[in-house]
């Protein structure tokens, strides 16, 4: 067990290392000149050329752009390890602070959405499996296929229009509070549940074929008890899907946060892209990547813990 965790940790470090290289290379490949982005174009800045050139040189030196690529990478990593992602070009504040402020809002949205996804996914999945090939099953299957075909932004916009503009029941503003939570949570929960419904249904059907179910029926256990046992046995695939959807809730929240003007990380990243605020985008990408690698790591650990046979 311990050696497995150690091995996984090593793999995680390697993955994060490669991911940082990819992000760094992407940044360096970008045709944009970071110095010009920070200082503004000479035409726009309207300074005399000589002075601009001197300042340009100085700035390049400050940003280590005149050094070799490996040196630049190492100094970038050093700063990243100290949570120094540079300053936002737009607001001039440290990016780390700005992101830190927005994490609670994103989590406030992501966690209830995941709970809703769980409730919808597991209950509908179980019902669908129990009523296999019956009318209820067909309806649930069609609904889940349908909602996996609807773009999240379209559902979000329609609900926002109906409740916000038409009924005036939903407050259209840009604060993160509990009264504004329910609508985006519904959208995220509904959009992310089809994958869970599917997994629960398929795995439940497979469980129903096992001997302990027949044994339970023979012993005269109630339907509820039998189902409870079956659900316990399909916990692993459910955990996997939930972990994956937590990741996609964090990253996919970009869309929903932007539509509901929810002050979380996703909307911040989206705004920075439209404003060309590239330090923010990079920090966001790096942050998300590391989060995902860590979540995957924990899923693997849970897997080994629950089932020691799993090869790692």
């Amino acid at each position: 067990m311990f050696t497995k965790i150690l091995k996984k940790t090593m793999e995680m470090v390697v993955t994060i290392f490669i991911a940082t290289i990819i992000i760094f290379v992407l940044i360096r490949l970008s045709p944009r000149d970071p110095v010009k982005i920070v200082m503004g174009n000479p035409e726009i800045a309207m300074t005399n050329t000589k002075e601009y050139d001197i300042r340009y040189e100085k700035m390049s030196e400050e940003l280590n752009l005149d050094k070799s690529i490996p040196f630049q990478y190492i100094s970038w990593i050093k700063r990243v390890l100290k949570f120094d992602f540079g300053k936002s070009i737009y607001t001039g504040r440290p990016v780390a602070d700005e992101i830190k402020e927005r994490i609670p809002a994103t989590l406030l949205l992501a966690i209830p959405s995941m709970i809703l996804q769980c409730i919808l996914g597991i209950s509908l999945g179980v019902i669908s499996a129990v009523r296999h090939e019956k009318f209820t099953d067909q309806v649930i299957r069609f609904i889940s296929v349908f909602f996996s075909s609807v773009p999240a932004f379209a559902l979000g916009l329609m609900l926002l229009y109906y409740f916000g503009v038409h009924l005036k029941y939903y407050e259209v503003s840009n604060v993160a509070n509990l009264s504004r939570l329910w609508l985006p949570v519904i959208v995220l929960g509904v959009i992310s549940s089809p994958s869970l419904i599917r997994v629960v249904r398929t795995n439940m059907l497979q469980e129903f074929g096992r001997d302990y179910i027949s044994f339970g029926i023979a012993r005269g256990l109630s339907k509820g008890d039998i189902l409870k046992n079956a659900i316990k046995n399909i916990a692993l695939p459910i955990i996997t899907i939930l972990a994956l959807s937590f990741v996609s809730l964090l990253s996919g929240a970009v869309v929903i946060e932007s539509i509901f003007t929810w002050p979380g990380m996703g909307r911040y990243a989206m705004e920075s892209i439209l404003l060309n605020d590239y330090p923010v985008t990079q920090a966001y990408a790096l942050f998300m990547t590391i989060m995902i690698v860590i979540i995957n790591f924990f899923v693997d650990i849970i897997y080994t813990y629950a089932n020691p046979k799993v090869k790692m």
Binding site: V14, T15, I18, A19, I22, I23, L26, I27, L29, S30, R32, V130, R131, H132, E133, Q138, R141, V145, F146, S148, S149, V150, P151, A152, F153, A154, L157, Y161, V165, T202, L205, Q206, F208, G209, I213, S214, I217, K223, I226, V247, S248, S251, G252, V254, V255, S258, A269, M270, S272, I273, L274, Y278, T281, Y284, A285, M288, T289, I292, V293, N296
Partner: protein, 296 residues
């Protein structure tokens, strides 16, 4: 086992339901393709000509989906726009599948160092959610439709490579492959003649689902103005244009949204139907049938 399965009560009904979703999906996508391909026949108006006096009209018998801010008929624009949307998504998907098939096959067949290296890359790629990578690429390289498609291909090959690799690793042990090896066939020939046929149908199922997902992601990015605006109408860019007027005239986004939903829905239905027909794990075994009845 195969024969006994058919005797299972409800088996015929099951089969019928499965092909039903396949049939509905195929009918839907065929009608969409026909409508879009012959847009010049079906579209009632010119998709580009601006008619200022007709701007922002709601649904009517003249304009099924209403008109946009320049008075253009949205239905006609959806039909013409479908050409760009469908062809670009499909070509991106084809590139993705080819790349994934190639890498997965090489990785699974040769194994060793190539395999280890590719799988590490796969791990890293899986750590980048599509949305995040698309955002960083557009922020660094500028907003353009081409950049968006490159991102799609760069990130999209991963699931295909994983699937192909796992099938190839299993199929490598089959007698037909080993016979070819003994007969001295070249490895590329084994891959194309013996391994490709086994890989192709699961990949096809995955491709239908992935095409749907891809259209959804592209439309989301286009909606936020990250897909750029091609000169001809395109579903994503229509949404992006429409969102400025959304609260004033909400029906402006209904047309393109409906087009996206129907296309993705038909792809998902086809995928679902194909998967049920092909995937043996999805069909419960004979022994399950009486138990399921007890539970149901």
């Amino acid at each position: 086992m195969q024969i006994r399965k058919l005797k299972c009560e409800g088996g015929d009904k099951m089969q019928r339901n499965k092909s039903l979703s396949l049939i509905i999906g195929i009918i839907l996508i065929t009608s969409i393709i026909v409508l879009v391909a012959f847009a010049n026949v079906f579209a009632p108006y010119d998709p580009i000509e601006q008619v200022p006096e007709n701007r922002l009209m709601s649904f009517s018998s003249k304009h099924i989906f209403g008109t946009d801010q320049y008075g253009r008929d949205i239905f006609s624009r959806v039909l013409f726009g479908g050409r760009t949307t469908l062809t670009t998504s499909l070509s991106a998907l084809i590139l993705t599948v080819i790349l994934g098939l190639f890498l997965g096959m090489v990785s699974g067949y040769y194994g060793g160092l190539i395999d280890a290296l590719l799988m590490r890359i796969v791990d890293v790629m899986m750590a980048f959610p599509f949305m995040v990578l698309a955002l960083i690429v557009t922020s660094l390289f500028g907003i353009s439709f081409l950049n968006l498609l490159i991102t799609v291909v760069v990130i999209g090959w991963v699931p295909f490579a994983r699937l192909t690799r796992s099938i190839v690793i299993d199929a490598k042990e089959n007698t037909n492959v080993q016979a070819s090896e003994i007969l001295g066939a070249k490895s590329w020939r084994i891959m194309i003649e013996e391994l490709l046929p086994q890989v192709i149908s699961p990949v096809l199922v995955m491709a239908t689902f992935e095409l749907g997902k891809l259209m959804l992601s592209i439309s989301a990015l286009s909606f936020f103005g990250l897909g750029a605006k091609p000169p001809s109408p395109e579903w994503g860019s229509m949404l992006s244009d429409g969102k400025t007027f959304f609260f004033q005239a909400p029906y402006i986004i209904v047309g393109p949204t409906l087009a996206i939903i129907l296309s993705v829905l038909s792809l998902n239905l086809i995928g679902e139907g194909l998967r049920d027909l092909m995937d043996p794990y999805e069909i419960p075994k004979l022994e399950d049938c009486p138990k399921r009845r007890l539970l149901g």
